[in-house]
């Protein structure tokens, strides 16, 4: 009897002692609907853009836009430029214009519901040119996995910049290994197409991370070997040719702190050691209610640009092995008789995910089917050759 009750006890204990993690209902009242402003004025003559969005509930990744607002940028004591909404939330200046170093600008917004917002006045800061953007391949080490590091050097000899931010657009060439030569047109019918139509694309992506740096602790106002981008060894984006357009902006201390705080907050989310959560306020304020939280930033800065190109061959001396396209391509080749192609394409959305690479056999009796991304790059990139390519 004693052993019996002991066993019961142990079972009870174990049932109860495990930590219990359960979904927790926060309730809809938790959602905080706020205006998010992203505005930037440079010294480049162009149509400048201001993006107005709103926060989304936690359970939805859909982006919400602030439409119907009046947006203008005022230059201190001079002109003001009114923006026009070209698509939901995207406001463009109707004419090209530019900012000037040393002048002060302010973003002023009136939303559809007559709420007025303005940024703190921002003085357009001069930015030194980018000295060098370069890359090197480093093999696997204790501290890093193998891959290509893209670095930047810059220096302000007048030592007035101190705070830097970068953005880049990366463009790379895509050539699927099995460019599709047939286009399925329904039933068991198909047409021939030129492989080059779907077999050569370019893709351009903006930078995904907040890139900021300061040189305040240095004697010289120089940024050395700042890592803009790391490309893992096996990533196919470096398989043919890769280009990066880097834009450099000088910041003032407040803007730097804003971006730095945002970077820290977004980088460490979900790590083992949580950080103190919170919201980083920007420099946009409500005129009617100064305590209203507005997210985002308006900044003005001179822009220095530099474009660079890399090919995989340039890293071969350092031990770089040109990556494969996608390992999954050869593994997933299927052969389908021509009379079954209609049935095959109709099942499981195959017409959306598969491509007919080629036909085989006597009088094209068998089709060789590959996954879409292995035979057609138009989902990943665009076939329009970039003008700088």
């Amino acid at each position: 009897m004693k052993t019996f009750s002991l066993k019961i006890f142990i079972a009870l204990f174990l049932l109860s002692n495990t930590r219990c993690i359960e979904p927790f209902e926060t309730g809809p009242q938790g959602f905080d609907d706020r205006l998010v402003v992203e505005g930037f004025l440079s010294d480049v003559t162009k149509q400048h853009q201001v993006l107005l969005t709103r926060t989304s509930p936690l359970d939805s990744n859909e982006r919400r836009f602030e439409t119907g607002a009046q947006v203008r940028i005022e230059e201190e004591g001079r002109t003001s430029t009114t923006f026009q909404e070209v698509s939901p939330g995207v406001y463009l200046s109707p004419q090209t214009f530019r900012g000037f170093v040393g002048n002060t600008y302010q973003l002023i917004i009136t939303t559809q519901d007559e709420r007025q917002y303005q940024s703190t006045p921002v003085t357009l800061k001069a930015t030194p040119p980018i000295d060098r953007v370069y890359a090197e391949f480093l093999p696997e080490s204790v501290e890093q996995e193998a891959g290509i590091h893209i670095y930047l050097d810059t220096e302000d000899p007048t030592a007035n910049t101190r705070f830097y931010r970068w953005e880049f657009d990366e463009t790379y060439e895509i050539r699927p290994p099995f460019p599709s030569t047939y286009l399925w047109t329904g039933g068991n019918s198909f047409v021939f197409r030129e492989p080059s139509v779907v077999g050569l694309c370019w893709r351009t992506d903006p930078s995904q991370n907040i890139l900021v740096q300061n040189t305040t602790n240095l004697v010289r106002d120089a940024v050395n070997q700042f890592e803009l981008r790391f490309i893992p060894e096996e990533s196919f984006i470096m398989r043919y040719r890769y280009s990066m357009l880097v834009r450099q902006f000088a910041l003032n201390a407040e803007t730097y702190l804003f971006w730095e705080a945002l970077r820290e907050l977004s980088e460490t989310q979900g790590s083992l050691f949580d950080i103190q959560p919170g919201t980083i306020p920007g420099n946009i304020f409500s005129i009617d209610n100064p305590d209203e939280l507005v997210l985002g930033y308006f900044d003005a800065s001179q822009t220095s640009e530099r474009r660079v190109f890399f090919t995989p061959q340039s890293f071969t001396p350092q031990g770089y092995i040109r990556p494969d396209y996608l390992e999954t391509c050869e593994e997933n080749i299927e052969d389908v008789p021509v009379q079954e192609i209609g049935a095959f394409m109709s099942t499981e959305n195959n017409f959306e995910t598969k491509e007919i690479w080629a036909a085989f056999g006597f009088a094209e009796t068998v089709f060789r089917i590959v996954p879409r991304e292995c035979g057609n790059c138009t989902d990943i990139g665009t076939t329009e050759r970039p003008d700088f390519w």
Binding site: S5, F9, F13, L14, L15, S16, N17, T18, R19, C20, I21, E22, P23, F24, T26, G30, F31, D32, R34, V36, E38, T53, T55, S56, P57, L58, D59, N61, R63, V142, Q144, R162, P206, S207, N209, N214, T216, N217, A253, L257, E260, A261, L262, E264, L265, S266, T268, Q269, G270, L272, F273, D274, I275, Q276, P277, G278, I280, D291, L295, G296
Partner: protein
């Protein structure tokens, strides 16, 4: 009074008789004789009749021989180590028990009495008389039939009050008893014995009834005729209790009469009435049921007192600092209840001799160890087992206390089929040893050591290990009846390690260590007037290794990093005076002056004060040599408290305190991981300063059966620590750039009703407490919640605790506890947005939401062994259910980014009832 006079058999003793005549020498031999036979032989040999009561003598047998020794020699040798005292008077040998009256009697003393011819000076003996009527009923130590005399009758006519002082000890094992209430007549004056068992009362000359009260001891009551200042030592016998139990010791009269407010003493009795978690008595759990003491939730290490952060409590084990008081995520306290003498919490008024933390002092004292007989105690449950021994090495001189506790839940966990549970590990142990040695009446020495280790791993998560190591050496010295001192030297060490190997590329080991050496010299002076002085000096040296990270395993890509060590010296001088202004009014004036030196070797950063505190604002980097001070803070800490008795049943108390704190806990309360690190004040982190005013009203109602107290307080906090948004506390070499110091205020009300006697006993407490912080700055990064006051992480306004115990019979008792508290504040995600290509979470204002309220019901059932006192072992069974209703009390709510958005999860530690059975024994 007539009755007393009737029994007042005034008598005298004349040691000088023997001194003037050549002392008669006797030769005696005892061989396995009982005491009765011993006394018989004595009578035969000396022809002096021996007066004693048979009940006084034990069953021991005595074997000793004396060759040509004086009667005094023989008697003192024979009776050494017993409770008996002797008196040779007029050819009689008179024995008394427990009570010795020791004094210097001056010339002429005897003339007043019977006119005896002898007038010479006598030293160091007792005089007592036995009334020749049967002893009072068993179990009642109060004995009014005997009147004691203290002092010198020749000085009886001198004007002024006199002082009665002495030591209070446990008659069974000779341990000094602290916190015993000693009072004269109907409560005036009243005092409490100090840690050495020493007490002192100021009295009018004349006849008084001296009484004591102590939870576990029988009440003592004695009529004493006081002629002049003198001493009265009191040995107390324990109540017939088969096992040690706990009560909260705010004694009936102390409630009203004691000067300190917001002070609670826990001794081992009350614990039994509190249902156990996993079969263990838990002293911290008892403390948490007191008003003003709160815990963030199950799984939180540490506790919060009067709206203070967890690091604002100083936890002392025999004067050495405990840095982590919890085992296994806070489920068990690290204190083995069997080896603890008592524990005391100071939260309202902190005496001047203690300091260094803002909110409270929690002192835990180990038992001295039984110096008379071997005893052992233990308990066993499916989760833990514990054992302790008290071993007299030399009777009445030296004893050794040994205790140990372990858990074998690892073994239990492995019995289950569920893989995730099998891969969990949880184990801890703690061991304690204490050697107490009484060198002589004026000197005693003790050496204590403590070690606890923890190791746990939940599922495939990280492996946590931590360790407390403590040692203390205490030397108590009594210079004379007025001055005594205690010198303590202590060492504390706490370190933890975390191994994370869920992903081989990110496997690492992370660690932290703190060491503290402390030296304290404390004096108590009883000048025999209205004053009681306490003064001394203390110095603490800190050494910290704030953190390191090492890659773990061959595939790990983590780079190794070590933060530089920190050193500091905290010193204090203190003085306090407890002044009695009369029967109704007393005041305690104290001042502690503390100083802190930040010491090298270190690289010190200086920041541009006109810029936000960020790395880019570093204007200078200075290398400081080893042990060179680079920053010094100092300041006075006033400790003032007063008491006014309204009448015999009620009093009011008022106190003001300032405390300064030079060591801070960097705690990210969002995570459960016990990876909190300590940080010393330095040139960038200023000491925290707290001021507290509290007012209390105390009243005993229903013929003293119910004690009620109401205390209110208001606290001002300076330089409390909080963190910037995005702050990273672990392995941050510039932690000052992530810490913000600001103002705080805390206020509250504490209500306690307590019934101590009867079949139903227990207490009900209600606490209202708020803590609000304000972090404002010209720089937006250092401003939290627009610079407005906001609730601190540990702000839990309402807290209700009911602890009750109902005795069904002498053997069976039932306990029922209820606890409720407001859920703690939390910063909630309230949305998400994109900026510069990043997905960013929007959070509420800091601590703008609260997790659900906490409530829990526990029940327990105790079955005692039979109540025969003389059986080999006493034992009892405890069956308890923790969280009877299986309430899901979330410990924390956290958020994970998933494909559909961000999902909130709550973490509950004990989400279902936990039954436990344990068997406890003592012999």
């Amino acid at each position: 009074m007539k009755k007393i006079i009737l029994f007042f058999l005034f008598s005298f003793f004349l040691f000088s008789l023997q001194a003037q005549e050549p002392e008669t020498q006797y030769t005696l031999r005892f061989d396995q004789d009982t005491w009765a036979e011993v006394f018989e032989k004595l009578e035969q040999e000396t022809n002096y009749p021996v007066f004693y009561t048979p009940e006084w003598i034990g069953p021991q047998r005595i074997s000793r021989s004396y060759e040509s020794k004086s009667l005094n020699y023989i008697l003192s040798d024979l009776l050494q180590g017993t409770r008996l005292k002797y008196l040779v008077y007029k050819n009689r040998i008179i024995l008394s028990r427990d009570i010795a009256i020791v004094d210097e009697l001056a010339d002429g003393f005897l003339e007043k009495g019977t006119g005896s011819s002898d007038t010479s000076r006598t030293n160091g003996t007792a005089f007592t008389y036995e009334r020749e009527i049967p002893r009072p009923e068993e179990g009642n130590q109060a004995d009014t039939s005997q009147i004691m005399e203290v002092g010198d009758p020749s000085r009886f006519n001198e004007p002024g009050q006199v002082q009665l002082s002495g030591y209070i000890r446990d008659a069974e094992n000779g341990e000094s008893l602290a916190g015993v209430v000693v009072y004269a007549d109907d409560g005036q004056p009243i005092t409490t014995s100090d840690v050495n068992g020493y007490y002192s009362l100021r009295l009018e000359k004349g006849l008084h009834i001296i009484k004591t009260q102590f939870a576990t001891m029988q009440a003592f009551s004695q009529e004493v005729q006081v002629y002049s200042s003198g001493s009265l030592d009191i040995d107390l016998r324990s109540k017939i209790v088969s096992l040690e139990q706990i009560t909260i010791e705010s004694e009936r009269d102390v409630n009203i009469m004691g000067i300190e407010m917001g002070r609670y003493k826990i001794d081992i009795e009350t614990m039994k009435n509190i249902p156990k978690v996993l079969g263990e008595n838990d002293i911290l759990l008892v403390m948490l049921s007191l008003p003003g003491v709160q815990k963030l939730g199950e799984g939180a290490a540490g506790f919060n007192v009067r709206g203070g952060a967890a690091d604002q409590n100083l936890i002392l084990l025999n004067e050495s600092t405990i840095y982590n008081p919890s085992h296994f995520l806070g489920f068990f306290s690290i204190f083995n209840a069997d080896v603890i003498k008592d524990a005391e919490l100071f939260k309202g008024f902190i005496p001047a001799d203690q300091g260094g933390r803002l909110s409270s002092i929690f002192e835990v004292n180990l038992k001295d160890g039984n110096k008379k007989k071997f005893s052992a105690e233990g308990g066993i449950s499916p989760i833990t087992s514990r054992m302790s021994f008290e071993i007299p090495l030399k009777e009445n001189k030296t004893s050794l206390l040994l205790g140990g506790r372990t858990t074998y839940s690892d073994w239990v966990l492995n019995l289950v089929d569920d893989v995730s549970i099998q891969n969990s590990e949880a184990s801890f142990y703690d061991v304690v040893a204490r050697l107490s040695h009484k060198i002589n009446d004026n000197n005693s020495l003790s050496l204590s050591g403590y070690l606890s280790r923890d190791r746990y791993k939940l599922s495939f998560d990280s492996l946590f290990r931590y360790r407390n190591l403590n040692a203390s050496l205490q030397w108590q010295h009594r210079y004379n009846s007025k001055l005594q001192s205690e010198l303590s030297a202590t060492y504390s060490q706490y370190n933890y390690r975390v191994e994370f190997d869920a992903q081989p590329e990110e496997a690492f080991e992370l660690g932290f260590l703190i060491r503290e050496g402390n030296l304290k010299l404390d004096f108590n002076l009883f000048p025999g007037s209205r004053h009681q002085f306490n003064f001394g000096a203390q110095s603490k040296f800190y050494y910290l290794e704030p953190g390191f990270i090492e890659n773990f395993g061959s595939e790990s890509l983590i780079s190794n990093r070590v933060l530089p060590t920190e050193r500091g010296l905290e010193s204090a001088l203190y003085f306090s005076d407890l002044i009695e202004f009369g029967p109704r009014f007393s005041i305690n004036l104290g001042l502690r002056y503390s100083m802190f030196n930040s010491l090298g070797a270190r690289t010190v950063f200086q920041y541009d004060p006109s810029l936000p505190r960020e790395e880019f604002a570093i204007v200078d980097t200075v290398r400081v040599d080893n042990l060179q001070a680079f920053q010094t803070y100092h300041g006075p800490e006033w400790r003032i408290s007063g008491r006014y008795s309204l009448d015999e049943l009620s009093s009011i108390k008022l106190s003001y305190n300032r405390t300064r704190q030079y060591i801070h806990l960097l705690s990210n309360t969002v995570s459960v991981a016990p990876t909190d690190t300590w940080k010393l004040s330095d040139n960038n982190i200023e000491p925290q300063i707290g001021d507290q005013i509290s007012l209390g009203y105390y009243r005993n109602i229903k013929e003293n059966t119910i004690e009620a107290s109401l205390e209110i307080y208001y606290r001002w906090l300076q330089n409390t620590l909080d963190y910037k948004i995005g702050a990273e506390l672990i392995l941050n070499p510039n932690i000052e750039t992530d810490v913000i110091q600001g103002r705080g205020k805390a206020y509250g009300l504490e209500l306690l009703f307590r019934k101590r006697s009867g079949r139903l006993n227990g207490w009900l407490s209600y606490t209202y407490s708020r803590t609000l912080l304000q972090l404002d700055s010209p720089f937006p990064q250092e401003r939290i919640n627009q610079g407005q006051f906001f609730p601190a992480n540990y702000d839990k306004p309402h807290d209700i605790t009911l602890v009750s115990n109902y005795k069904l019979s002498r053997r069976y008792s039932f306990s029922f506890n209820f606890t409720y508290s407001t859920g703690r504040p939390i910063t909630f995600p309230t949305g998400q947005y994109q900026l510069a290509g990043e997905q960013i979470i929007l959070y509420s204002d800091r601590n703008d939401f609260r997790i659900p309220d906490y409530w829990r019901v526990d029940i327990g059932f105790n079955v005692e062994g039979n109540h025969k006192i003389k059986k080999l072992a006493h034992s009892f069974w405890t069956i308890s259910i923790y969280n009877l209703f299986g309430r899901d009390n979330p410990y924390s709510v956290y958020f994970v980014a998933e494909e559909e958005g961000i999902q909130a999860y709550s973490l509950t530690i004990f989400g279902s009832p936990i039954p436990t059975i344990s068997y406890n024994f003592k012999f």
